[in-house]
């Protein structure tokens, strides 16, 4: 049971990281990324193929996704934001095809095994917990960095670009440049999550990177509240709680077999999000605001 809980907690941490990346891209900058599974896969394969293990491999995964994110955003920098969203779909498909068919690189459908764990030095019994700690450390560090950015003038400019890019431009903001930065940085965070995924499972193959990865990330951000990093971690947590707790339904309702249960669980998650959005249309938490008392030593008149 403990091992099961540690596994779930690790998966929540990874999902939260993906959500953090999407929250920067879509929550703050308004750039929908339907190719999250592609970035996640690139991160995972980069780590699996990396000549160096551990943290440096994760750095490579982030760099690869940073570059790809910047490239996709640059390609569409002079167009409406919707074009970027369309390109991301194509990007994920390209990544899927490469991972399946370029056997010399990715070993095709057989996948890549023996990805070294960053906590391999621990005694075997302690490795799951050690990895959870490692993943939580990465989550915390990413959260801190993204939270500083969200509350900074950079984050404010992104929110302006998201809500009305014409106004942002007439106020002197470099709309294209801001979008490229946000998309690339968000991509790097998703790449980090993908890299951790590879290190966690130590074995990856193309079937792990389907569009359900993308769907969960959007669910976490929507449930948590677009623009709020804390909210989305709660969102990712709730979705996994719902997904995993429904696993035990078959003990309660004897009629359910495996396939029925799998379908039912996804339906329950969907229903849960609908219910949440009816009760709290803006998600669990609102995005942070800058208030004058935080900025001014003066008392309100």
């Amino acid at each position: 049971m403990i091992a099961y809980l540690i596994t779930i907690a690790t998966l929540v941490a990874l999902a939260s990281l993906v959500g953090l990346g999407l929250n920067l891209q879509w929550g703050l900058a308004g750039l929908a990324n339907f190719g999250i599974a592609g970035f996640y896969a690139v991160g995972a394969y980069t780590v699996a193929l990396s000549p160096v293990p551990g943290v440096p491999a994760l750095g490579l995964a982030m760099l690869a996704c940073l570059g790809l994110g910047a490239l996709l955003a640059l390609l569409t920098a002079r167009l409406e934001a919707e074009y970027l969203a369309i390109i991301t779909i194509g990007f994920a498909e390209v990544v899927r095809l490469v991972s399946l068919n370029e056997g010399w690189l990715t070993n095709g459908a057989l996948g890549l095994a023996d990805v070294p764990s960053p906590v391999g030095f621990l005694p075997a019994g302690w490795q799951p917990l050690g990895f959870l700690g490692f993943a939580l450390g990465m989550l915390l560090a990413s959260f801190a960095v993204l939270e500083v950015l969200a509350r900074s003038p950079f984050g404010r400019a992104l929110r302006a670009v998201r809500d009305d890019d014409v106004v942002a431009a007439t106020l002197g903001k470099d709309v294209g440049g801001l979008r490229v930065r946000a998309f690339a940085l968000g991509g790097a965070v998703i790449g980090l999550a993908g890299g951790l995924h590879a290190q966690f499972l130590s074995y990856i193959d193309p079937s792990q990177f389907t569009s359900i990865v993308t769907a969960y990330a959007f669910m976490a951000v929507i449930a948590g509240g677009r623009g709020s990093n804390l909210g989305l971690i709660l969102g990712a947590g709730s979705i996994f709680l719902l997904l995993e707790s429904t696993r035990f339904l078959k003990d309660v309702i004897p009629l359910l077999d495996g396939t029925r249960l799998a379908a039912l669980r996804l339906m329950l998650v969907g229903a849960g999000i609908v219910l949440l959005l009816i009760l709290r249309p803006d998600g669990l938490m609102a995005e942070p605001r800058r208030l004058s008392r935080q900025l001014s030593p003066l008392k309100e008149p």
């Binding site: 106004v167 007439t170 106020l171 002197g172 903001k173 995005e287 605001r289 800058r290």
Partner: protein
């Protein structure tokens, strides 16, 4: 010169604004006033003609580059950023913010915090001036129509502009606030900012404009003082024609 498909929206229209001067731009509905402001602000690219700022040709610059050079517009239908607070709307417009660079935001927190405090002090002073100080921490979406127009002006001022293009700043603003607006525009002009003012409220035009240009069907129709222009037979006809149509 600017065409929307078959519609010739601008043809030979021109507008010059000197520092400290308030130029009125009037004309019937559909005359092309907003279109002319859009061309000046860089939101529309004209098929012919040029835009100059301080003698430099800025026709090929985008709106952001023009804003950074001190040319900024407000919108006829206020475009507040509703999910930002009133104060954040102004802070956003502050020019040359280091905190908008990712690395500075992450690695120079104290510098960025000091910059934010300085900008906030200026933003709050502007909010006091436009009568929105009490609304500083409200979401801009909650402002009344008139207050949103004032916010547009405040945001423009935050840029330390040299030329401000106002598109019907008084439309939908309550009469006492219009007086406030008139006083403010004169005050700011005295500080050296040039204004182009598109407005249907003729009392306001008469009150604040140094000179007036009339546009009809995209072409310049008349120019001069408010009295000269309103006495012009062709101007009266254009307005009546516009109403009859």
């Amino acid at each position: 010169m600017l065409r929307f498909g078959g519609v010739v929206a601008l043809d030979g229209a021109s507008l010059a604004v000197r520092p400290g001067e308030v130029v009125g731009l009037i004309g019937p509905n559909g005359a092309g006033k907003t279109t002319l402001l859009n061309v000046m602000a860089g939101l529309l690219r004209p098929q012919g003609g040029q835009v100059l700022l301080d003698g430099a040709d800025i026709t090929r610059l985008g709106p952001a580059a023009r804003a950074r050079r001190g040319l900024v517009r407000s919108f006829q239908i206020a475009r507040e950023l509703g999910r930002l607070t009133v104060l954040e709307n102004l802070l956003l417009a502050a020019p040359a913010q280091r905190g908008e660079a990712v690395w500075q935001a992450l690695l120079r927190p104290r510098l960025v915090a000091a910059e934010e405090r300085a900008n906030a002090a200026r933003a709050l002073a502007i909010l006091t001036r436009i009568g929105l100080r009490a609304k500083a921490d409200d979401l801009a979406a909650g402002l009344s129509g008139g207050q949103k127009k004032l916010l547009e002006l405040g945001r423009a001022l935050m840029l330390r502009p040299r030329v401000v293009l106002l598109d019907e700043p008084a439309a939908g603003v309550a009469p006492p606030l219009v007086q406030e607006l008139a006083r403010l525009v004169r005050e700011l002009a005295a500080e050296g900012i040039g204004f182009a003012l598109v407005e249907h409220d003729m009392a306001l035009v008469q009150q604040v404009c140094d000179r007036v240009q009339v546009l009809a069907e995209g072409r310049p129709l008349a120019a001069g003082s408010f009295a000269e222009v309103t006495a012009d037979r062709r101007v009266v006809d254009a307005y009546l024609g516009g109403m009859a149509a």
